[in-house]
Symmetry: C2
Amino acid sequence: MPERKPRKDAARNRAAVLAAADTLFARCESTEEVTMADVAAAASVGKGTLFRAFGDRTGLIRALYEARLEPIEDAVEAGPPPLGPAASPLDRVPALLDALLCFKLDNRRLALALEETGSASPYQAEHYQRWHGLLQAMLEQIPGLADSDFTAHALLAATRADLVERLVGHERVRREKMRAQLASFATRVLGSGPTQGLTGRGPIEDQASP
Amino acid sequence: MPERKPRKDAARNRAAVLAAADTLFARCESTEEVTMADVAAAASVGKGTLFRAFGDRTGLIRALYEARLEPIEDAVEAGPPPLGPAASPLDRVPALLDALLCFKLDNRRLALALEETGSASPYQAEHYQRWHGLLQAMLEQIPGLADSDFTAHALLAATRADLVERLVGHERVRREKMRAQLASFATRVLGSGPTQGLTGRGPIEDQASP
DNA sequence: CAACAATACGGACCCTGGGTCCGCTTTGCA
DNA sequence: TGCAAAGCGGACCCAGGGTCCGTATTGTTG
């Protein structure tokens, strides 16, 4: 494959931009108040460099987002139950939703930015496809559950960044409460209770937004 | 109250703008490709007039949206069951969701535009509050259902414009199929089947998008 | 080490598109 | 018919995403 290794300065600049963007996004209320010029300035880099490295605004946000998402992907792909592949669907579906919820709680700004960016919102993001496909496959293994495609979408919709933002930032719902509510909702949809409850702060450690 | 009646030409222009915007939005794939200048030109009106009448882009879209929404609001507020207030919650919740879904199916572009506009998406729209409040009140009357606030949000999330757009425009799910899936999903969440099924094209007649 | 591609840099520049301003026109009341 | 008040419209403004290209770095080759 044509994977050519980048020049040293290019790599350094890319990292600087990522770090600067991360800081800036975390500091402000909405990512929309951070301009590309701001990011470039904060990273001590020219706009040209910024755009060459990430293509466009969406590319930058996506890069940031996917880096943060990696731990969860690993945990789902090869981690221990209830998130990992060894768990039974009845446990794993709630676990996945909970992991996603926690992720959005910890990365509100970023998730919000990504789901708003572009036109067709989160549905065109490649990782959405992954979550949906996985969830659907799990739902299909649950007896008596039809419409796995739609159901997967509907369950994921309950973890959307702007809903989370609304509940946490506006209605002041507490983290644990929201996790419990989502779990209970999922349980209802699945048709019977899971074999174990929620514990701890979240399935994956991650830097919380300030 | 300080409700002063507008001048005749102002009223005419307002109507012209509304009509022009409607046509333009219906014609294009995404409302984002329609600029305010386009709307003004199509309505044979200056940009100043346009902005004076609606404040800003969001105002225009909202005006269009709320006009379309009125029939549903009436039906919910004072219509016959299962949408009207006489119905039991177990019938009315699915009916409301179905009405909302049909509305979004018939007004995809518009709903999409509104839910994307601004930052905190649909949750800051005043009509969302209404649907949510109503739904929550109904859920509270259903025995054995906790977390009515969250549940209402989650159910509404399943009718979000971009999800509808995704299913209909991308996955090519047929209208009736989607209605059935949503109904079935709602049923699951409510904990038991409704006392009647779906019939007809939709609860409210409305111009379909071309 | 010198020379030279190839690659990257960066900030001046462009352009779209939302929103404003203000001199002119229309309306409608007296 | 006269005269405010209300409204009109399009020239204008400006933020901000994205591009361009002359210059600077890199690292490779003899």
